[in-house]
Symmetry: C2
Subunit: 201 residues, 2 copies
DNA sequence: ACTATTTCTTATCTTATGTTAACGTTTTGA
DNA sequence: TCAAAACGTTAACATAAGATAAGAAATAGT
């Protein structure tokens, strides 16, 4: 995929939120950079401030935390989604999240500085504010559901619910990542799957 | 507390995000309503669309879900915080969350319609977009931490972490609400407390 | 002031999960 | 192509959590 393809995918994506005329888009796109993250390269690490937001034109990334030397997967992002250690990006403080490319990944990125410049540019400010609001709101809704699932559901229920949504995660992620994502260990997920199998046959 | 006190508290709160001049504030405040929610009255119920965002000038509310006839507390909001079933408010769909006043609560509210009107009013649009973005971002950061705690921590760790932050929740909420908030049963929290006591003495 | 309700603890029992390790299979990378 | 690494399942054991019930203490409401 070439840079202009990546950029036009990005444009299509953000125009779900706000539309830009050509003049605006030219200025906006001056703040964008297309880059490739090779498999296993890091988009964010725990010690550093995550200074970028990325749009995944192609590929996938995995979010994880390290606890007691163990790697615990918390989330994934795929093509046509955004990626960032948001809290770190927004607060300017180091996050506790690592983000790593699962495959070679083509990204359209902009930095915190770029975002601040756009927010200070009268020609873009309003639309960038709006874009930011709508994206944040959308994530808020997702997070609300995820938190509710931890409070109201058992691990087995969370897994069957994930099955019922048929999310991409199921096809594309190894099971032990899915287990972490559900808040359990890989061994436990394997047992849950066994229970469900026995129950249905 | 009278209405103007409530309104000026609200103004002080949102001016942490954006500042309004007098003309703007006059228009903004025309969209605001001060109301009282008596103890045990509902701000939101699962069947209905949550059409309001509230600012708590005084009082406190509890968010909960009903599962198998049981009431599971998910969150709290206190004075000087916002309250809404955000996903419902943002999507216009019924939520699954109930929100109930824990004590008589004084609210400054605006409806979805008010928000849309403000977003369409050129005099306010920019600042309201910005306000919305910053509030959503702040919640995003909180939610991110909360999700990480479910994935990386045991219930006991979540509780000791809550203790270490000394959050208001601890002083003002009965323990079985806190248990739900941590994703466990009240009985289990009681046992965790026992374990911690024995461990320290 | 007194009763009803709520809250918290404790006990018992059952069940699910975490931990560790072993094994076979699949995938990866050189 | 071949060795190393990653992956999924299973087993055994220890631990923690859920469910239920009972009882004491605190609180609320009248």
């Amino acid at each position: 995929m070439d840079n202009s393809t990546a950029l036009s995918l990005f444009r299509k994506c953000i125009e779900k939120y706000v539309e830009f005329n050509e003049a605006e888009w030219i200025i906006f796109s001056q703040h964008l950079k297309v880059s490739i993250l090779k498999k296993k390269q890091y988009f964010a690490t725990p010690e550093k401030v995550c200074d970028n937001v990325g749009y995944i034109a192609d590929g996938a990334v995995r979010y994880f935390h390290i606890k007691d030397g163990q790697d615990i997967t918390g989330y994934f992002s795929f093509e046509n989604e955004f990626v960032s250690s948001y809290k770190s990006f927004l607060t300017g403080q180091p996050g506790f999240t690592s983000i790593q490319a699962l495959t070679d990944t083509i990204l359209v990125t902009f930095t915190r500085k770029d975002m601040d410049q756009m927010l200070s540019n009268p020609m873009l400010a309003y639309k960038v504010e709006r874009f930011g609001r709508l994206v944040a709101e959308q994530y808020l809704c997702c997070y609300e559901d995820r938190i509710a699932s931890f409070i109201t559901q058992t691990p087995e229920e969370r897994y069957t619910h994930l099955l019922s949504t048929g999310r991409e995660i199921l096809q594309r992620m190894p099971q032990h990542y899915i287990a972490n994502y559900l808040g359990i260990t890989p061994v436990s997920l394997s047992r849950i799957r066994r229970r469900l199998l026995v129950g249905t046959k």
